[in-house]
């Protein structure tokens, strides 16, 4: 069996770790295991190592021709480094990154801190959504005066969002 890291030498160190009920396996040769500090399996987090390996296979789900328009990063580059090129890469390679994040984290939706600039955007887009629902209802009920007011409010909110 080949070493998962250098892909050349014979693997002699076999590691299996169960984190959060998910099993992760890695096979290493003597040199790579030393290099990665795997002398004490208990003090060692496989996820860190697996990032560069398992992760690269996941991202292959994106078509190979895809290139980030902002930074020129390709999936071949990710395979080499295990790191992305720029923040926009998350949008470009979203098909490959999605399942990888699912394996790596507790969830796939951020629930933590939001920058203040996004508070405003979130507030306004939620407000517009509600107003639009009310507008549809008002039109259905033929309450045109209310509808006209709602339309003006939506315009205002949209203008605020754009500013």
């Amino acid at each position: 069996m080949q070493c998962d890291v250098c892909q050349s030498k014979e693997a002699t160190v076999f590691l299996t770790q169960i984190v959060d009920g998910k099993m992760q396996k890695v096979n290493l040769c003597e040199n790579c295991s030393k290099e990665k500090g795997v002398n004490d399996p208990t003090g060692f987090a496989l996820t860190d190592l697996l990032l560069g390996l398992g992760a690269s296979q996941e991202i292959e789900k994106s078509p190979s021709s895809v290139k980030c328009p902002i930074c020129g990063f390709t999936q071949a580059d990710f395979k080499k480094t295990g790191r992305l090129g720029c923040s926009n890469c998350y949008m470009v390679f979203t098909d490959g990154i999605g399942p990888m994040l699912k394996n790596m984290h507790k969830g796939t939706q951020h629930t933590g801190k939001t920058p203040a600039a996004f508070h405003k955007i979130r507030e306004h887009s939620e407000k517009i959504k509600t107003l639009q629902e009310n507008l549809t209802k008002a039109i259905e009920a033929e309450e045109f005066e209310l509808a006209a007011n709602l339309r003006d409010e939506i315009r205002q909110a949209e203008a605020a969002l754009a500013s």
Binding site: D40, G43, L84, G85, H110, G112
Partner: protein
Amino acid sequence: MKFSRIIANSGEWLSGDGPNRHIVVSSRVRLARNLRDKPFPGWAKKSERLEVMNSVKQAVECLPEMDESYSENLEALSPLEKQVLVERHLISREHAAKGVGSAVVMNAPQSLSVMINEEDHLRMQAIRCGLQLDNVFKMIDRVDTELESSLEFAYSAELGYLTACPSNVGTGMRASAMLHLPGLVMSDQINKIINSVNKIGLAVRGLHGEGTEAMGNLFQVSNQTTLGEAEEEIIGRLNRVIEQVIEHEQNARALLAQRKAITLHDQIGRAYGLLCHSYSISSKEALNLLSIIKLGIDLAVFPDAHRFPVDELFIETQPAHLQKDAQVVKMSSEERDALRATLIRAKLSQVPQPDIARLRLATPATTENQ
């Protein structure tokens, strides 16, 4: 502020006081942030890195927290100076390997430091003494919020803060505590503890983080995942686990004192003897023995007044710290081992011999429910 002035004093986290100080050496929270649509440092060209560094550095230097600060480009630091910062946990080993296009900014008490162009554009950390992750998080959270007004961070409503490595995406937060666990090591329970902490999705690492060996019975516990949980939830989870580990460590110490008293006395006595009388000592041996002296102070075998000098030795005996005051440009490891032994002998000559009769446990023994 000059490099020599900032390192003349030990960091606030070493000399200060905090909850559970006898077991939790320090609490640290690190946030990873990047600028929107700018290539991450590992992918950026030199000119792009310099551009990001200049704008970020200026924003960081303008923070009220950085009123009195030390700020330097990495290429201006010697390998020795970089290593001193690594030993103080102010920059990472990865950051020390960087040169042109990377920088570091830290405040005078060394409780805040911002690495610019490490793996991410910004890696900012706050570090305090004892177990106070909540306070430490508030500190770094405020810095982050202040920086928001001058820098546009890469953020998506779905994935949160976007980072170079997908393993940091979401909160971009790594919260960790450095634990001193001689009781669990001496009673062979440490692997059991590490395994169970790993099983619940937290990482346990050695002294200097990823892939490093545990020395001086020091272990870092930190969160593994960053997406799907809010910062407060992650810290809450970490706190609960650390509190349990503290309890296990206290029980282990109590058990050692009651059932293996001779072994415990012997270990403390030998550690004191070796440190007082060695003329050449490696950094690893020194840390392991100092850990036992620290345990001795916790157990009142040595007077508490010696806590700070001993804690300081944990840092001062590290290779780069030893060399920083020496006039020699480059020392061999033999010369360092000799110098280290001299430094330790000098400091320990102030510490009286262990008084085993005074041994008492810091907390009521809870040994019956083992």
